[in-house]
Structures are given as structure tokens and as C-alpha cells.
Amino acid sequence: MDSIASHSLDFFDGESSENTKIVARSLTNRLLSGICITLSLLTMVPLISIIFLLLKKGLPLLGTAIFTELPPAAGMSGGGFGNAILGTLAMVGIGLAISAPAGILSAIYINEYSPTSRLSQAVRLVAKLLTGIPSIICGVFAFTVVVMTTGTFSAYAGSMALAVLMLPTILLTCEQALLGVQSAYREAAYGLGATRFQTIARVVLPDAFPAIMTGVMLAVARAAGETAPLIFTALFSQFWAKSLNEPTASLSVLIYNFSTVPFPHQIAMAWTASLVLVAFVTLANIAAQTIFSRKN
């Protein structure tokens, strides 16, 4: 190691060949940064295009009639999609009423009661796999279990499909929410002589509540926008639903049905329905984020 430092150094006494190399490297660096920034900003184009078209094509028909009237028959004008909004709300609501208790209770079991048991590991794996299952499979399942058994398309079938869809989202976000509760709180509660149930009900759940709500809102946002699970379970209806056991309209299926017809008025209505749906989904997402950030 006689001459480690004897070599000339670019910072101290720059050789010209060395300098051109460094200039070239800096240029390459800037070029790559430019490409990366351009590609990233390119992503904004579709979003801006979607939002622009939603407003441009969806706003003209937006009025109170949209929320109170029934869809127009083919080729007719006027009308609204009150029944579809109601149908979406009802099916998401019933789906939530099934999946939220199941998801939250399962999450409590795998996080509070026996985190390492075989059952808990199985629950985690199944939840992960269920999130990966295409949403249309939830529809196929509800079709076999409800439609084929009862012999009719119905809001029940749609709700069932949405419940299966929401379950893993609620379960996994709820598990994260419970993981976020400091174990010191639990120990403090046990130290004061609380039972397991008291600890969970009085200490853990209140602390995790905002994060659990975030998960629930995310699941609602996702379910409200889904079409595939409803398309052959709830099907569609031109009329106000008289019961939950008959074909039921939903916003997303309305968009699907109206987007492929040759009538401009129906297509305009599909855009308005899209605007309403995106607004609802965005609000649900923002609500989820706000609840979450308020906690932190």
C-alpha cells in the first residue's frame, strides 16, 4: 500500500478527461430524473381526463329529479335513478351489517385472544386470499347460494355478494387497528384486575375505534363502486323495490346497462350516475382518511 493517495484526484486537481466523465454522469442523472418526473406526471392525465368528463357530461343532468324519479324507458327522456341510489345504499348497508360484525369479531379473536393459534393463522391466510379473489367470484357464489336456492334475483343476493367482498378488507384493517393499540394499555387494564372482555371492551376497542372506522369506510367505498358482484345477483329493476326479495337496481349496474345503449339521454344519465357514484366513493375515502388522521 505504498501509493494509495498518490493518484491524482478530480476534486483537487481535475484532469480534463475525468471532468468530461463527471459532466456526462451528471447529465445522465438529470436526464433520468426528467424521465422519471415526466412518467410520473403522465399519470395525472387519465385522472384529469376522467374528472373533466365526469363534470362535463355528468353535471348537466344533475338535479333533484335524478334522486327522486325512476329510470326512463329505452329512448325516453327525463327521469332519474332514485331507485338505484336506494338499492346501492340498501345492499351496501345489509352487506355491512353481515360483514362488519364477522370481520371485527374475527380480528379481535386473532389479535386479542390467540394471535399465534392455528385458527388465527388460518384466518389471516384466508383473509389475504379472499382479498385476492376477483369480485365477480363473490357474485358467482351469491348466485349459487341465494339466487339458485330462492329462484329469483334479489337484493339479498346482492348484499350477500357485497358482504363476502367487504369481509377481508374489514378484517385486515381491523387487525391493523388492534395491533396499533399499545400493549401497555392492555397490561395496565389487566393490572387493575380487569377481565379479558373488560379490557377489550373498555380499553382496546375505544382506542382502536377510529382506525376500525377507517377500515369500514374503505370497505363501504369499495363495495359501493362494485358492479361485478351485483350484475347477476341483484340484477336491475326499472321500479322502486317493494321488497328485498326481488331484482333491485343499483347505481353501478345502471351505469353498465346505460353505457352500452344507443340512446344519448341514457348515456348522459350513465355519466351523471358515474359522477354521483365517484362523489360518494371519494367522500367515503376522505371520511376514512380524516378519521384516521385525526387519531394520529
Binding site: 430524473s33 399519470t43 387519465p46 369479531l105 388465527s120 384466508v126 367470484i137 365517484v278 371519494t282
Partner: protein, 316 residues
């Protein structure tokens, strides 16, 4: 606080009540686990007549003629795989770029925040809205591109004409936008988990930003990015509505990306509402194949992701 003073520690005579809440939670867990089995069981049961009748020919033949009761899903399997792979090829460079953009400090934090918001919004837009948007925006663009491509590149089988608006390419372009958030989010996590010390080490040796990214940061995050891509592929394969609205739903096999094609999910969406008899069983069989493919892809993705997390934990 009016606890009786006499027994500080409850002893004889006190028996803890069974924890009903625990039993409730346990029941919910068991139901959750059974759910997946139940789904698969129901679908296999409904598909059984078709499985018995067609066997593996169902997968290898390409006739889908309901009124003659001839069913084969090869074109739809091919279409599912082809549209998803094409979508991944389009989404991968964009997704990784955005992930790098979000984890580096090129521009001010507020711009990065905006970018994050954009990606989250893309994830929130419903599939059916993408379909509607695709009909009005992407179909004309792809049609124009297709006409040009047939004229100038028509010699390649991939671009042989005639060019349709409802085509594999249209579906893939929209799919690429839809899976972008998945790829971005998981890649960003992988990049963020590269230890800061490695980045500093590269900079201290005189590396430029991109030399550090290419030689140290990306290789370290590579398994995570691979997992992101696989999970994005899984999402693309199961995506239904937008694809059903844009791909043309044809059961003809074609080499050209400009021709109509079909996917398994699109097939189910289109035909389930009006299907009868053996057609229902065949659609169930198709659903089973779709489950099998997506489960396989997702399991692979999760396995890579888990392996990655273990490995990066070792780097410190």
C-alpha cells in the same frame, strides 16, 4: 368501589363464567375460515355436471356455442393472460417511476403529496366508471392508433388488421391504469424499506442519485417490486367490468392485439344473467378456473412479499 373486603383473592365458590365473548369471536373466525372453502365447494358443486361432461377438454377447446351445448374456454384463458400481461408491461415502468418519484426528493413535498393523492384517487374510481371512460376516450385513441399500426406495421401478426376499437389493446390500456395504484403502493413500500444507510453509503462514494438508485436501491428493493408486479397481475386477471365493456368479448383466438378478445371474468359478467342449464354449469367451471389462476398468482405474490420482508430485515 364497594368490593367486599373479606376475600381479596376470590377462592372457593368462585368459578369464572365462560367467556361468551371469546366464543363469539372464535365462531366468527371459524366462519371466516370456512368462507373460502364454502365458496370453492359451492362453485365446484354447481360446476360438476360440466366438469363431468367436458373434463379437461373444457380448457383446451375453443368453442363456446350455448345453443349446441358446446363449451370450451381456451380463448378466454388466453385472453385473460394476454390482457393482464400486456397491462403489466404498460403499468410496470409507470408504477416503478411513480414509486421512485414518491420515495425520492426530486420535487417539493407538496408535489409528492399531490402525486400520492392522484394515485389514491385512481384506486378509488369504480371499475364501471373506467369502462365508461374507456368507451369514450380510449376506444377512439386505440382505434386511430390501430388504423395507423395496421398500415405501417401490419406485417407483424401482433398488429394485423383490421383494427377494432373494442380490442385487447383497449382493455389492456385501461387495465394498466387500474392496476397502477397496486404496483405503485407495494413498490413504494419496498423502496421505503431500503435502509437509509445504504443510500448514504452510495452517495458518500460519489454516486449520483440515479447511480445510487440503479446500483443499490432498486436491487435491494427488487423482490418487493417483483411481488408488486405479481399482485398487480392478479388484480388485472380478476378485473371484470371495465374489461367486459372494452375488450369486445369475442371467443375467437387471434394473434393481433387490435382484435376483440375475451376474458374469463368478462364471460361470466356477460352470460350469467341469462344462462340456463348446462351453460350455468359451464360458467361455474369457468369461474373455478378463474379462482384457481388468481389464487395461484396471489399466493405466489404473497410468498415473494413475505420472503422479501424476511430478507430486508436481515440487512439492518
Amino acid at each position: 368501589m364497594s368490593a367486599p373486603e373479606k376475600d381479596i383473592i376470590s377462592q372457593s365458590g368462585y368459578r369464572p363464567a365462560p367467556d361468551f365473548f371469546k366464543i363469539l369471536c372464535q365462531t366468527a373466525s371459524i366462519l371466516t375460515v370456512l368462507m373460502l372453502g364454502w365458496i370453492i365447494y359451492e362453485i365446484i358443486e354447481s360446476a360438476w355436471p360440466a366438469i363431468q361432461k367436458f373434463g379437461l377438454d373444457f380448457i383446451t377447446t375453443s368453442a363456446w356455442v350455448p345453443n349446441r351445448e358446446r363449451f370450451g374456454v381456451l380463448p378466454f384463458i388466453v385472453g385473460t393472460v394476454a390482457s393482464s400481461l400486456l397491462a403489466i408491461m404498460l403499468a410496470f415502468p409507470l408504477g416503478v417511476s411513480i414509486a421512485i418519484f414518491l420515495s425520492e426528493n426530486f420535487l417539493s413535498p407538496s408535489i409528492r403529496q399531490t402525486m400520492r393523492f392522484v394515485v389514491e384517487m385512481l384506486a378509488a374510481i369504480p371499475s364501471v366508471v373506467y369502462g365508461l371512460w374507456g368507451i369514450f376516450v380510449i376506444i377512439p385513441i386505440v382505434k386511430a392508433f390501430g388504423d395507423w399500426a395496421v398500415n405501417s406495421l401490419g406485417g407483424f401478426p401482433l398488429f394485423s388488421g383490421p383494427a377494432y376499437g373494442n380490442s385487447l389493446l383497449t382493455a389492456s390500456v385501461v387495465l394498466a391504469i387500474m392496476i397502477l395504484p397496486t404496483i405503485t403502493a407495494i413498490s413504494r413500500n419496498a423502496l421505503a424499506s431500503v435502509p437509509k444507510t445504504l443510500r448514504e453509503g452510495a452517495y458518500a462514494l460519489g454516486a449520483t442519485r440515479w447511480e445510487a438508485i440503479f446500483s443499490v436501491i432498486l436491487p435491494t428493493a427488487a423482490p418487493g417490486i417483483v411481488a408488486a408486479t405479481i399482485l398487480g397481475l392478479g388484480r388485472a386477471m380478476g378485473e371484470t367490468m371495465a374489461v367486459a365493456m372494452l375488450i369486445g368479448n369475442s371467443s375467437r383466438l387471434s394473434w393481433s392485439v387490435l382484435s376483440p378478445s375475451g376474458t374469463l371474468a368478462g364471460l361470466l359478467a356477460n352470460q350469467f344473467g341469462e344462462a340456463q342449464g348446462l351453460q350455468v354449469n359451464s360458467l361455474m367451471y369457468a369461474a373455478l378456473i378463474l379462482i384457481a389462476i388468481t389464487l395461484l398468482v396471489n399466493l405466489l405474490g404473497e410468498a415473494v412479499l413475505r420472503h422479501t420482508q424476511k430478507k430486508t430485515a436481515g440487512i439492518r
